[in-house]
């Protein structure tokens, strides 16, 4: 038909390659014809598009699906997936964005800030205590519930550990709240004595770590209390009364002595890896120390910083500094330092933006005080304003390994969609070839193909896919397993497409244009794929859309059961693995609500698009 038309308008005749011509003719329904008659301009595609976009649900489906697709395609470049991620302190955090949100009442009146793991506790100039962030440290304990005696007291110092907080009032009274079941509030006898008598009890530094706390007296006496099982909680007699500052690591602590030397003052002594202190810090010229989880840093008079410990996360990669460091503070995996010129510099791990200090503090030159904890940094400026950087929260919460659900949902979506799409392509290719052959040739070919398709279609899908995945997949690595799932899904789900194509071919092969093509001596393969197939294409498109949703559902189901893509690679299915217990359903609701919601939204939208397309292409359906 088109050839004839082309002869009518020779001016327009352009040489195009076969694929482009086929695409134009079938998908765009544009023939290389210049009609003089404007009435004919309404092409079938236009009608389909008009019908499609007239349906509100279909348009909604397209818009939302495209949004999700965009997020899933582009998102992984911004939210990089770290498969080995495991952060003990950030497990099961609900959706939050307030970990560094200092209450309004405290603005400009900050006396002390203690950054905890996922929360912060602060004292204002009047000694009143405030807390913010995710303070529910366990199911029952909420650090937000500050005891009355703490609230009424005029607080001087404050410290926050993993699940408890310590505060000291101006009268020298020490108070602990939060989780106290691991002897976090059990003071040692000499502490009690000192507290009563007031001797050696002029506390200048309070520290709190993982269920342990420390208080340092101005005279150099160190008091340590808490859960001793995981922490080297003790002090060698020879150092007592000689300590100027301490810094907590994860399971140890180091001390700066009054003579300007750094020492490992714990009971472990030389047995600890952190006792190998650089010589430069033993010259009596150390002015400050800091520690992260597994590394220590010491600052000497000339502003130089020396590191030791397990420097695995870039803790020692200090940037070039044009000024002298006067104070250094450690987070969990990073350090921040205050410079002489009033600027701040941060380095170390940047997984949670801990080192992404804003320009206001890196070049503003008016930072007065710096508080650094786990993943948070608080800088107080000369004018009383505060600037924060670091982990402010997880918009969609975290899972049982402390991994950000947002990152996992975005990356999981990419896997699920990719697997679904490729499975559909495989299924369509098999279905079209077999269906085309069966429908075009009929007879024995048809009989055999239909019997095969009956067998495949009769297999119970999920159990069969499970067995294939288990048997073949046990020897494959995760990437190969992903390909395996694509192939298994494709190979098991072509039956519907095959039947559709076959039925269409039965109808099409009786058409005149096929007879004409045969009469012209065109090869049968060409007739099938270049003449008949384009006419079936529109229906195929609909079935592909709907199959895409089905494939995604099947992949997620397999992954949910543990026979699809294995963890830790996330997919929308295996994010929900293990969510079927009442604790997760109720308390950690964000672990299933968000993946389920976005996945449900996605499949609903694809089905809406598929339905809309089918209705738009099927003239009969408009009557319905």
């Amino acid at each position: 038909m088109s050839k004839k038309m082309k002869n009518i308008t020779p001016k327009k005749k352009k040489k195009r390659n076969t694929l482009a011509r086929w695409f134009r003719q079938t998908v765009l329904r544009k023939h290389d014809i210049d009609y003089d008659n404007p009435e004919v301009i309404e092409t079938p595609l236009k009608i389909v598009a008009q019908n499609f976009f007239a349906k509100k649900t279909a348009v909604f489906g397209v818009v939302v699906f495209l949004l999700i697709l965009l997020v899933v395609l582009i998102g992984p470049y911004f939210f990089k997936l770290n498969l080995g991620e495991h952060e003990q302190t950030l497990i099961h955090i609900p959706p939050s964005n307030n970990m560094m949100k200092i209450p309004k009442e405290m603005h400009g009146r900050i006396r002390d800030i203690a950054p905890g793991t996922t929360f912060g506790i602060g004292v204002d100039v009047e000694g009143k205590v405030y807390s913010w962030g995710h303070t529910r440290v366990t199911d029952r304990i909420n650090l937000n519930e500050i005891p009355d005696e703490v609230q009424e007291a005029d607080l001087k110092l404050i410290a926050a550990g993993m699940d408890h907080a310590v505060a000291l009032d101006t009268n020298g009274k020490l108070m602990v709240w939060g989780n106290t079941r691991r002897s976090q509030a059990r003071f040692t006898p000499d502490m009690e004595k000192a507290q009563k008598s007031g001797k050696n009890w002029n506390i200048v530094q309070l520290e709190a770590g993982m269920q342990v706390s420390a208080a340092l007296d101005e005279g150099g006496y160190l008091y340590l209390w808490g859960n001793r099982s995981n922490f080297d909680l003790g002090i060698k007699r020879e150092y007592q009364g000689n300590i100027a500052k301490i810094a907590f690591l994860a399971n140890e602590y180091i001390s700066l002595l009054k003579d300007g030397n750094v020492a490992y003052t714990g009971i472990k002594g030389k047995g600890s890896p952190f006792s190998r202190i650089p010589d430069e810090l033993l010259q009596g010229k150390t002015i400050d120390i800091a520690a992260t989880d597994r590394t220590c840093a010491g600052l000497t008079e000339d502003g130089k910083v020396y590191f030791w410990g397990r420097l695995e996360k870039g803790e020692s990669e200090m940037p070039e500094i044009d000024s002298k460091i006067v104070k250094i503070e450690g987070g969990r995996y990073h350090y921040s330092a205050l410079l002489e010129n009033g600027n701040v510099v941060s380095w170390g791990s940047n997984d949670y933006n801990q080192t992404a200090a804003p320009a206001k503090v890196t070049s503003g030159g008016n930072v007065k005080e710096l508080y650094v904890g786990n993943f948070q940094n608080y800088a107080i400026l000369e004018n009383g304003e505060h600037v924060t950087w670091g982990l402010s929260g997880f918009p969609l919460g975290t899972d049982n390994f402390g991994r950000d659900m947002l990152v996992r949902i975005i990356n999981g979506g990419r896997v699920t969609m990719l697997v679904g799409a490729i499975a559909v392509v495989i299924a369509t290719i098999i279905g079209v070839i077999l269906g085309g052959l069966a429908g075009y040739f009929g007879g024995a070919v048809d009989l055999i193909i239909m019997r095969i398709s009956e067998v495949v279609g009769g297999l119970p899908f999920i159990p069969f896919a499970m067995i294939l995945s288990a048997v073949i997949g046990s020897r494959l690595d995760p990437t190969q397993r992903m390909y395996l799932i694509m192939i298994v899904l494709g190979v098991l789900s072509w039956v519907g497409t095959c039947r559709l194509v076959r039925a269409q071919f039965f109808a099409q092969r009786e058409m005149e244009y096929v007879t004409a093509a045969k009469a012209m001596g065109i090869r049968e393969g060409a007739i099938i794929f270049r003449h008949i197939l384009p006419n079936v294409f529109s229906l195929l498109l609909v079935s592909m859309t709907l199959d895409f949703a089905t494939s995604m559902l099947t992949e997620s189901t397999l992954s949910y059961l543990g026979f699809g893509i294995p963890l830790p690679t996330p997919t929308w299915g295996n994010l929900l693995t293990g969510a079927n217990n009442s604790i997760i359903i109720q308390q950690y609701w964000w672990r299933w609500v968000f993946p389920a919601a976005i996945f449900g939204m996605c499949t609903i939208c694809i089905n809406l698009i598929g339905d809309g397309l089918r209705d738009a292409m099927d003239p009969k359906s408009t009557e319905r």
């Binding site: 999920i462 048997v471 189901t557 109720q586 299933w592 449900g600 089905n607």
Partner: protein, 340 residues
């Protein structure tokens, strides 16, 4: 009709053997060695060469070195087994479960009962709802009720069944506390086996899974019934029937309904299989003692014979299902009987 049934039966038997052979061959790809597993506990007491000799002998006894086809035939019970008797699947010997240390037949009886019970329950419930609902929507198409059902049904077939389970669990178990979260019976319950109390307890435990399964299958099925009913209502003979002055009820239920039933019956097969496949997910989510849960356990522990037996169960269910569909097709559609 007789010839038609016979033809279908022969066909199904052939398919059963093909599938079972494929499954057997597939499962033989797993690198397991039952002879070694049996000998392993004795290994410390044996000398290496003695161990090796016993191992070889055991392999021979178990017939592990024979050709795949022979092993398959033996397993199936088509040829004589190692003890000189026909002792295979066809004789009711489903093998021995390594995980549970007892014959597979014993192990699967109870789960099979549960699974069939749940599935038939869910099927009847779903059919009981979808058929009237679909017909009603088709007759009143375009009305508010119909549009609402259409929109809702998209939810039903777009959401995977485990998400529906989680949502239902949240409301029915966690929020309202109506049903138990998981398991197929109350732990440490003191009632006699076979008593009324046991039955009630069982119903109480499977109620939520059945509700979820029913809900999950509502969407797709309702849409299907509706569209085939609409198609039937749009045909010429319906116009003729109406022109004859027949009552609308007669037109709908006698003329249109019987013709709409044909495509519905075909789709019921796919749907019924889907329910059985879906029960793997449901049983695992709700921790029910059913075939799906057992299958999952078997696959995870690579329990060769157990999984194979359950896979055969699934295959048999699908084949019997398709036979039933064919038969009912023959009953509903006179043309099928005459033609073939």
């Amino acid at each position: 009709m007789g010839k038609y049934v016979l033809k279908r039966l022969v066909y199904i038997v052939i398919v059963f053997f093909i599938i079972s052979f494929l499954m057997y061959a597939l499962y033989n790809l797993i690198p397991t060695d039952p002879a070694r597993a049996q000998l392993e506990p004795m290994r410390p007491q044996l000398k290496p060469d003695e161990y090796f000799r016993m191992y070889e002998q055991l392999r021979k006894e178990m017939g592990l070195d024979d050709h795949l086809v022979i092993r398959y035939a033996r397993w199936m019970g088509i040829i004589k087994g190692l003890k000189g008797e026909f002792d295979g699947l066809l004789q009711g010997n489903f093998g021995y479960s390594q995980t549970f240390k007892k014959p597979v037949v014993q192990q699967i009886t109870e789960p099979m009962k549960n699974t069939i019970f749940i599935n038939i329950f869910a099927t009847i419930a779903a059919l009981g709802i979808t058929l009237p609902l679909g017909v009603y929507c088709a007759v009143h198409k375009g009305k508010k009720f119909d549009t609402t059902v259409q929109t809702m049904s998209i939810l039903g077939y777009s959401l995977p069944i485990f998400i529906i389970s989680l949502i239902f669990m949240y409301f029915f178990v966690v929020r309202w506390g109506i049903f138990p979260l998981m398991g197929s019976k109350t732990p440490n319950a003191s009632y006699e086996p076979g008593s009324w109390a046991e039955f009630v307890d069982k119903l109480y435990h499977i109620a939520l899974p059945v509700i979820v399964m029913t809900f999950a299958s509502l969407g797709g099925m309702t849409r299907y019934v509706r569209s085939s009913m609409i198609e039937a209502l749009g045909t010429d003979y319906i116009r003729t029937a109406r022109a004859k002055g027949l009552r609308e009820k007669v037109v709908i239920y006698s003329h249109a309904w019987r013709n709409a039933l044909l495509p519905i019956i075909t789709s019921i097969l796919a749907w019924f299989l889907g329910i059985f496949g879906g029960s793997v997910i449901i049983e695992n989510t709700f921790s029910l003692n059913g075939m799906g849960k057992l299958y999952w356990t078997g696959l995870n522990t690579l329990d060769f014979e157990l999984v194979l037996a359950i896979q055969m169960f699934y295959t048999a269910v699908s084949l019997i299902g398709s036979l039933l569909i064919d038969l009912s097709y023959g009953i509903v559609d006179p043309r099928v009987r005459v033609d073939k």
